[in-house]
C-alpha cells in the first residue's frame, strides 16, 4: 500500500511539472522581449504630440499701453491665460480694460469711455510637431464688451431756420460683440519667459446702438467700424506646473533607448 501511495504522489508531482514548465518558459519569453526601433518611433511620435495637458501660460499685452505713441487715441491693457493641449491647441481666455478721453481738434467733439472687455477662443500652433523655441500660430476669438460712454459737441445749428440745438449725452449704454482672426509669433526668451506679437483682424458681429449716437471707440475693439485691425505685443510666462507630462514622456523614451542598447 505504501509503495502504491508513493507511486501516486510521484505521478501527481510529475504531472504538475508537465503543466508548469511550459508556462514558465512562456513567461521568460515575455520578460526577455526587447523593444525594437518601431516601439521607439511610436513612443517618439507620442512624445512629438506629447500628453494632452502640457501646461498653462499667463500673458500680458504691452502694446496697448504704449499705443498712444503710435497714434492711437486710446489706451488699453489686457492679460490672458492659455492652456497648452498637445502643443497644438491653445484654448485662451483674455480680459482687458480700455479707455479713451479724446477731443477732436477739427470739430471739437469730445468722447469719453472706459470699460472691461472679454475674449475666449483658441490658437493653433502650425509647427506643433517640432517643439521649437519659436512658433507661428493662428487663432480665432469671440469677444464681448459692455460699455458706457459720454459724447458732447458744440451746438448743432439749423442751416435753414437758424435754431441752435445743444448736444451732450452722458452714460450712453452700448454692447458689442466681435470676432477676431489672429496670426501670432512667439519666441522663447528663457525657459519660462516668451515674447511675441499678434496681428488681429476684428469683425463686428453685433452691437446695440443708441438712439442718438454710434459709439466711436469700443474698449477692446478700437474705432467703431465694420472691421478693423489690432496689434498686441505679449509677454508670456509659463506657470510653474508646466512640463510634468512632457518630462514623463521624455524619461520613457530615454529608458527605451537604454534597453535597446543593452
Amino acid at each position: 500500500m505504501r509503495i502504491s501511495k508513493y507511486i501516486i504522489q510521484l505521478l501527481f508531482l510529475s504531472s504538475l511539472f508537465v503543466v508548469i514548465l511550459p508556462l514558465q518558459a512562456q513567461e521568460r519569453k515575455v520578460t526577455k522581449y526587447v523593444p525594437g526601433k518601431d516601439d521607439i518611433e511610436k513612443k517618439q511620435e507620442k512624445l512629438d504630440l506629447g500628453p494632452l495637458f502640457q501646461g498653462i501660460s499667463a500673458y500680458a499685452d504691452v502694446y496697448g499701453l504704449v499705443g498712444k505713441m503710435f497714434g492711437n487715441n486710446y489706451t488699453s491693457s489686457e492679460f490672458g491665460f492659455e492652456v497648452n493641449l498637445k502643443n497644438r491647441f491653445f484654448p485662451v481666455f483674455e480680459m482687458g480694460y480700455g479707455k479713451s478721453n479724446y477731443t477732436d481738434d477739427d470739430n471739437n467733439i469730445h468722447y469719453k469711455t472706459s470699460s472691461t472687455y472679454y475674449r475666449v477662443g483658441m490658437n493653433y500652433n502650425f509647427f506643433y510637431k517640432k517643439h521649437q523655441t519659436s512658433y507661428v500660430y493662428g487663432g480665432l476669438r469671440y469677444a464681448f464688451s459692455p460699455f458706457k460712454y459720454d459724447v458732447d459737441s458744440p451746438d448743432l445749428i439749423d442751416p435753414i431756420w437758424g435754431d441752435k440745438v445743444p448736444f451732450a449725452f452722458n452714460n450712453v449704454k452700448g454692447n458689442m460683440s466681435w470676432g477676431e482672426f489672429v496670426i501670432g509669433l512667439q519666441s522663447k526668451i528663457t525657459s519660462i519667459l516668451h515674447m511675441g506679437w499678434t496681428l488681429r483682424y476684428k469683425l463686428r458681429l453685433s452691437t446695440t446702438e443708441s438712439l442718438n449716437s454710434n459709439p466711436w471707440y469700443v474698449p477692446g475693439y478700437g474705432n467703431y467700424k465694420k472691421n478693423t485691425f489690432g496689434v498686441t505685443y505679449d509677454i508670456v510666462i509659463d506657470l510653474p506646473f508646466w512640463k510634468s507630462g512632457k518630462q514623463k514622456a521624455l524619461r520613457a523614451v530615454e529608458s527605451l533607448k537604454k534597453e535597446v542598447k543593452k
Binding site: 439749423d158 431756420w161 440745438v165 478693423t228
Partner: protein, 170 residues
C-alpha cells in the same frame, strides 16, 4: 528620409500659402472699409411725384418751394421736377412747406416730426435725423400724399409719395 523632407517642405509651403491668403484677406477687408461722410450733414425729406396710376411723373410746371418761418427759398423755379428734397427743421414739431406752381396755384404740405440729434463719428461729426409722425396737405394740384418711410436720415430712400391729378403732370 527623403519622404520626411518632402513632407516637411510640403507642410511649410502650405502654411506659407495659408498666411499669404489670410494677409491678402486682411488687406482687402481694410481697403473696403471706407469712411463715407455726407458733405453738409443735412438730412432731407424726399418726396417723389406720381400720377393716379402710381407711375412716376415730371411736373408740367415750374415749382418754387418755401418754408413757413424762414425767408429761405428751398427750391427755386425748378422745371420738369420728378420730386423734391426738402430740409427739415431742427427744433420745430410741424414743418409747413409751400409748393408754388403758378401765381394762382399752390399747395401746402404739413409734416409732423420729432428731431433726433445724432453723433455719427469723429470724422463725420454730428447730424440731425428726424422721424415723421404724420403728413397732410392741401388738394389744389395734389390728389393725395402718402408716407412711405418715416425715417429721415442720410439714406437716399423715398419718404413720401405725392399723387398729382393730370392737370399739371406731363
Amino acid at each position: 528620409m527623403r519622404i520626411y523632407h518632402f513632407r516637411m517642405g510640403q507642410g511649410r509651403s502650405l502654411i506659407e500659402m495659408l498666411l499669404v491668403i489670410i494677409l491678402l484677406g486682411f488687406l482687402y477687408a481694410s481697403c473696403s472699409n471706407g469712411n463715407d461722410c455726407v458733405i453738409d450733414n443735412v438730412s432731407y425729406a424726399r418726396f417723389n411725384f406720381y400720377d393716379k396710376t402710381n407711375t412716376s411723373i415730371k411736373l408740367n410746371a415750374t415749382i418754387t418751394v418755401t418754408a413757413a418761418g424762414t425767408d429761405s427759398v428751398l427750391v427755386n423755379q425748378e422745371a420738369d421736377a420728378k420730386g423734391l428734397e426738402l430740409p427739415v427743421s431742427y427744433t420745430g414739431h410741424i414743418d409747413t412747406f409751400i409748393v408754388k406752381y403758378t401765381d394762382l396755384m399752390r399747395d401746402t404740405i404739413f409734416m409732423m416730426h420729432t428731431n433726433i440729434p445724432y453723433f455719427i463719428s469723429m470724422d463725420c461729426g454730428m447730424a440731425m435725423y428726424h422721424l415723421v409722425e404724420d403728413v397732410k396737405c392741401t388738394h389744389y394740384a395734389i390728389d393725395s400724399i402718402k408716407l412711405v418711410n418715416p425715417q429721415i436720415n442720410f439714406d437716399p430712400n423715398e419718404n413720401f409719395k405725392i399723387y398729382y391729378s393730370t392737370l399739371i403732370s406731363k
